[in-house]
Amino acid sequence: MTTVIAPVATLLPVFAPAESLLDTGGTVVSLLLKIAFITVMFLVVPLVGGYLEHKGMARLQNRRGPVEAGPAGSLQLVADGIKFIQKEDIIPGAADRKVFAMAPAIGLVATLLSFAVIPLAPGLFALDLELGLFYVLAISSVGVLGIMMAGWASANKFSLIGGLRAAAQLIAYELPLILVAVAVALQAGTLSLVGIVEAQQSSELFGTGISMWYVFPQALGFGIFFLAALAELSRPPFDMPIGDSELVFGYITEYSGIKFAMFLLTEYAGMILMSGLTVVLFLGGWQPLPGLDLPDGALGVLLGAGVTLGKIMLLVFVMIWVRVAYPRLREDQLQRISWTVLVPLSLVNLAVVAVGKVVAG
């Protein structure tokens, strides 16, 4: 049997991880550099996204938003963070203390770990795994456990219902998310996120020689991915798990102080992560325009990081825009959209991409 597969197996390219710029100096130095990179992506970039949400929402609602803390209110979230740390950490008397305390950390760690494979620019990433895309999807699927733990351990009916809603929602929307991501991996021929960006640089629109990103042939997939990402993050209009008009604040109701801040940070970091993933999968990653390559050297890396972060912030703004513009869905509508619309559509998308891949060679 091995003699049968041997010739084909050798045809497949051997995966060689791209060289990371952070791999300089000794092992310790490069390790510290990578940790610093992930920390910046996890702590600093979400702050910018949060500021964008404060200001963007305010402007869309004809208000001014934060103005006092820092220039143009830009340090508002830092001030909020300091406030959260100072606040009393309340644990309800009936709560399961250990599970209650561990719950916020699970989602936080899952999101933090996922940032390891998101590439910002050529060479600017912590890891280039052969299974990068699968790694992100697998790690982030664990976060729902933390939400269920929070909902149950709070010993509060609103929290429990919120946790259940979150679990049902996250399971329902994980399916279209993964199916659409599979279609992208199929077209790129790799699961490595760096490889997917590089494949988009060299992909051409139906053999015409016009360079393109995967958002053009897979516009349907892009739409499904963005919707499912919104639902995975429990962002409006999919924020039933914390629907404040019916569930107080869902699974976060009983949380205060630093633990509440951890949930908040997980949400904002999740927005950056999902936007980053969308940029890498569909919007050409660090490429400024389809067919336009970055200059070599340090300038290219800086420019690439700027382009990626710019695209991420653009998507974050769209998420905020959707939050302001649309009312919350109902729970049954949410489930119906996923199972009867998004899942079949993403299967169709996968089939079309697979056929196209074979026909186009």
């Binding site: 049968v4 709560a95 699968f134 697998a138 909902g151 149950w152 009916k157």
Partner: protein, 202 residues
Amino acid sequence: MTGLDLIFAVVGLITAAAAIKTVTSTNLVHAALFLAVTLAGIAGVFLVLSADFLALVQLVVYVGAVAVLFLFGLMLTRAPIGREALDSDHRGLALGVSGALFVLLSGLIIAAFGDVRVDTVGGPRTADIGLALFRDWVLPFEVLSMLLLAALVGAIVLSRREDGESGEVEDVTRILLADDPDLDGVDDADASADGAAGEVRA
């Protein structure tokens, strides 16, 4: 003993401890959470053995879906919230059964693979796994997926209401939401076994 051996031992110990706690916890939800830790620990063992793909599959299927469904089922039905205990009172039996299973399975595995020596621990490439699955083993793979599909359809059939489409009998709900003042009819609809709720409104 290399660093990898050390990590393997630590991950294995955590997994084993969580597995024991899974069957001995007095609280069902704690047991389910320890089960999640056990399953994640097995993913860690795969990772140490450089089976990256398998580790991620383990994580996404067992921790991200199966453990979550366990918890979901528990919380949806009868999980006591907070610190109240829900004890099945079968801890000794569970420990005995799972211990016996462990001895039996590990004995079988040692008997089958005990003398096979693997010197190089380097996982296969993902492409090779794909080729093996969809070229050499495509028939068993498809048969298995048909089996899963059959189980899925079976579950839907079992959980469906007996009188046709599950989405059609909405009138009772609507009456309870006070859209229809004819509340007397609600009891009739509940009482009638065939559930002809459409007639209630008429």
